[in-house]
């Protein structure tokens, strides 16, 4: 490693101020800090620092997404071959391999687009390249339908990074969750690619060689169109994830493994995750009470394992930047996401799934929640002052 360090030290002056490659300073810096943790030391105050940094934080989140991603890849293969009636003759690796090569380009496009923009902005602002996109770049593919055209991924990512993050001043200053911004952009700009029964399974759209009567309808699709009894998926399948849906959202089990990693390492907020689930479950119960149709009467717990609910609760709602920042606020924020997600999902005919909108909406309201939580703290302090005076 000393040789590599020497090479970096030799070329480094070129990238510093006044060097001939100054324009690529941010790129070089990103590359260098990826390879080596810098030699910078503390000046005063706390002379020692926690080993964790943004890179470590982000890589742990990416790690937590791995079960969902790997399962998603297999699931893509599974449904593709199911749709053409060949699934029985394929091995596990053939299913996974098919999915891998379908999903990988989406990941590559997402990262390439996002990182390029981040590096350009970092260069303009003379900042280091922030690591937030490590996570966003992986989240975006996981919430896309597998047949999404790659150029759309690129456009959506660019939109999310520029309009969702950079215009607010960069990573850490954004109001909305960037990955959901990308999804919402596509959802409203290209609805035909983002909803319906045909986009969730690779190759279904061109329809070649389909098994007769095969439907790529998601659980949400069945439910929204009032044809729940025609649906063949059992709750166990919904939990394990062998249902159609966005690449990473289908397996509640894989997502829960991710949730465990996030909570155990202390990086994701258990408060948010639990309160989203609680809110969703309660809303499900309330709908059960007033059930006038099949959708309203599905068991409340089943709401938690279908659609993007679990994925949103674990990976989207917990984004520390766009979530509520106070500890009490996190309970309220998560709870309302759960309530709204199920409310929109079941009662609003325009949107088959409500998680995305619920989270984005609560992202907007998170500062307000925090405001009231902090006001309460201030009031306590004011009251203390008054009693001490009297």
């Amino acid at each position: 490693m000393k040789g590599l360090r020497k090479i970096l030290d030799n070329v480094k002056p070129n990238f510093e101020q006044g060097g001939k490659l100054e324009k690529f300073r941010s790129l070089f810096d990103a590359f260098e800090t990826l390879l080596f943790v810098p030699d910078r030391v503390t000046r005063s105050g706390s002379h020692i620092r926690d080993a964790i940094d943004m890179k470590r934080t982000m890589i742990i989140v990416v790690l937590a997404m791995m079960p969902a991603l790997l399962f998603g890849m297999w699931n893509v293969g599974y449904f593709h071959f199911s749709s053409i009636g060949e699934v029985a003759s394929k091995t596990f690796w053939q299913l996974f391999g098919f999915g891998f090569f379908k999903v990988l380009p989406i990941i590559v496009v997402s990262y390439a687009t996002g990182l390029t923009i981040e590096i350009i902005f970092a260069q303009i602002r003379k900042h280091d390249v922030p690591e937030g996109f490590f996570v966003t770049g992986m989240l975006i593919p996981l919430i896309m339908p597998v047949d999404i055209p790659l150029w759309m991924v690129a456009v959506a990512t660019a939109f999310a990074v520029i309009i969702g993050v950079e215009v607010f001043g960069g990573a850490g200053m954004n109001i909305l969750n960037p990955a959901l911004t990308a999804r919402a952009f596509l959802f409203f700009a290209y609805p035909s690619e983002m909803s319906g029964a045909e986009v969730w399974i690779a190759g279904l759209k061109n329809g070649a060689g389909l098994v007769d009567g095969f439907s790529g309808e998601t659980v949400m699709g069945y439910a929204a169109s009032g044809k729940l009894e025609a649906m063949a998926y059992s709750p166990m399948e919904m939990f394990l994830g062998t249902i159609p849906g966005s690449i990473g959202e289908t397996s509640t089990l894989a997502i829960l493994i991710g949730a465990f990693i996030l909570i155990y390492t202390g990086i994701g907020s258990a408060k948010i995750i639990l309160s989203v689930f609680t809110g969703g479950f309660l809303m499900g119960l309330i709908l059960n009470l007033f059930a006038v149709n099949d959708y309203m009467s599905i068991p409340a717990w089943q709401h938690l394992i279908i659609g993007g609910f679990a994925f949103g609760a674990v990976f989207m709602a917990t984004d520390p930047v766009s979530a509520a920042q106070t500890e009490k606020g996190k309970y309220i924020y998560g709870f309302l996401i759960g309530i709204l997600a199920i409310l929109i999902r079941v009662l609003n005919p325009a949107y088959p799934e409500g998680v995305m909108l619920a989270i984005l909406l609560m992202n907007v309201f998170a500062p307000l929640i925090d405001h009231y939580v902090i006001e309460a703290n201030i009031k306590r302090r004011m009251k203390r002052l008054e009693t001490s005076k009297s």
């Binding site: 390879l35 706390s46 620092r49 964790i52 470590r56 390492t265 202390g266 990086i267 920042q325 902090i374």
Partner: protein
């Protein structure tokens, strides 16, 4: 008040190199340094020049804004040099010590019989007044104020912290005299806060005229700020004074012997110390008198004070006015290949994101590396987990950054000083110098509120 106050939020960092409970008499240092920089916001006016002879207790400089507050020499000798920094700011007044210390005679007294004015005057004359710290703002107390109460934290929970019970052993008489003197300065109580885990030293428990409060929990439970918050939080307009136990003893000694006897027990600790132990020395000593021959000297950092809040000094530097600990840890000025990706069995983290979580009892050798790049202040929820007060640390910090005085006040700026944020700084993933921000906030409050 409950029998015992327990806090749950906080963090004990388990480091290598805790001082063993052995007393050694340190060789008397040749040079002593008094550092105006130990006192926040002080504008020193010198009363000596190089070449002057001084006794222990002779004034070296005074506070320009409050000339009655004097800072005196801990030993007798000759003023050797006055080190200045940028814009001729005085950094150190260095005294070359005589072989035997000659003391100025401040007369012996029974502090219990004295008036408040006399006690104050004696502390001011001898140079011990600055040892009383005022909250809010962490500055030297104002002799004209009448504090609501005085607080003494009789234990320290910071990493590698010295054991106060061990350091004050056998000092019952001095401690009591110190308490008697301090009790003249306030109409309120004198709180002495002890750790409920071990039976505290009889020096504290047998003292008269104090209230003992028991505390339990992880660091920062030993920080006096945390304790005040749970005993009787500081409101706008309140003034509370805090004194370290060893300094109470020095104050007591002043009344008993009539001398400014700055002897002090100091712990030498840290992973780079070969045999960490306790030394009997004098405030302001050149740390070489303690560290020489006992430290692996290659690439290390010397800190006067603890590892979270102490001041960086050179190897020829001086023990700080308030400090009773010298910590020596490795410098971290090296690159680490793919460090953020490594499993990290040896990397201590508050989060469980490194494999080190498997060994909760392990002692770590931590260096001064920042361990990452500086980023925009990131909300992770970790601050709230290590900050026990009913205050929103992140929101208060942001109020400080935007200099919103009204909001700072509402969010509790009066209750905190830099050290209360030390753990936040430690766990911060964005590697921001948080204590510096807090200090700026406190300075701003002093400027604006007076």
């Amino acid at each position: 008040m409950p029998d015992k106050i327990t806090i749950r939020k906080g963090l004990d960092i388990n480091l290598k190199g805790k001082a063993e409970k052995i007393f050694v008499k340190a060789e008397k240092a040749e040079l002593f340094g008094i550092k105006p920089t130990d006192f926040h916001g002080l504008i020193p006016k010198l009363t000596v020049k190089p070449g002057d002879t001084v006794k222990a207790g002779s004034a070296l400089f005074y506070d320009k804004n409050r000339p009655e507050i004097k800072f005196t020499s801990p030993v007798s000798g000759i003023v050797q040099t006055i080190n200045r920094g940028e814009r001729r700011r005085i950094l150190e007044v260095i005294i070359k010590s005589d072989d035997a210390i000659e003391y100025i005679d401040f007369k012996t007294d029974q502090p219990a019989d004295l008036s408040r004015e006399k006690v104050t005057k004696k502390l001011l004359e001898s140079g011990l007044w600055p040892s009383i710290i005022q909250r809010p703002y962490n500055v030297v107390a104002n002799p004209e104020d009448h504090p609501k109460f005085i607080v003494i934290s009789a234990f320290d929970t910071a990493p590698l912290a010295p054991d106060y019970d061990f350091m004050v052993r056998g000092m019952e008489k001095e401690f009591q005299a110190g308490i008697d003197a301090l009790s003249k300065l306030t109409e309120g109580k004198i709180h002495v806060n002890v750790d409920s885990v071990y039976p505290p030293s009889s020096v504290f428990t047998k003292a008269q005229g104090i209230q003992i409060n028991k505390f339990k929990g992880p660091h920062p439970v030993g920080n006096v700020g945390t304790q005040i918050h749970f005993i009787d939080p500081i409101n706008k307009g309140d003034i509370v004074w805090t004194v370290a136990p060893q300094i109470v003893i020095t104050i007591g000694r002043l009344f008993i012997t009539g001398r400014y006897d700055a002897s002090r027990i100091v712990a030498l600790a840290g992973s780079e110390v070969m045999k960490p132990k306790y030394y009997k020395t004098i405030a302001g000593s050149c740390i070489r008198s303690i560290t020489d021959g006992n430290v692996n000297e290659s690439n290390v950092r010397y800190i006067s004070g603890n590892i979270l809040t102490g001041t960086r000094v050179t190897k020829n530097g001086f023990l700080g006015y308030y400090d009773s600990l010298i910590t020596v840890i490795p410098e971290g000025n090296h690159f680490e290949f793919m460090g953020w990706l490594s499993p990290g069995f040896n990397k201590y983290s508050f989060s469980r994101s490194f494999c080190s979580w498997m060994f909760p009892r392990k002692e770590y050798r931590m260096d001064t590396n920042l361990k990452g790049g500086k980023r925009a202040l990131m909300i992770t929820g970790n601050f709230e987990k290590v900050f026990p007060m009913d205050i929103y640390p992140m929101q208060l910090l942001k109020a400080i950054v935007v200099e919103d005085i009204d909001l700072m006040e509402k969010l509790g700026i009066y209750e905190v000083i830099e050290e209360d944020f030390a753990l936040c700084e430690f766990v911060d993933t964005s590697k921001t110098d948080i204590q510096e921000i807090v200090r700026k906030g406190l300075d701003l409050m002093i400027r604006e509120m007076g």
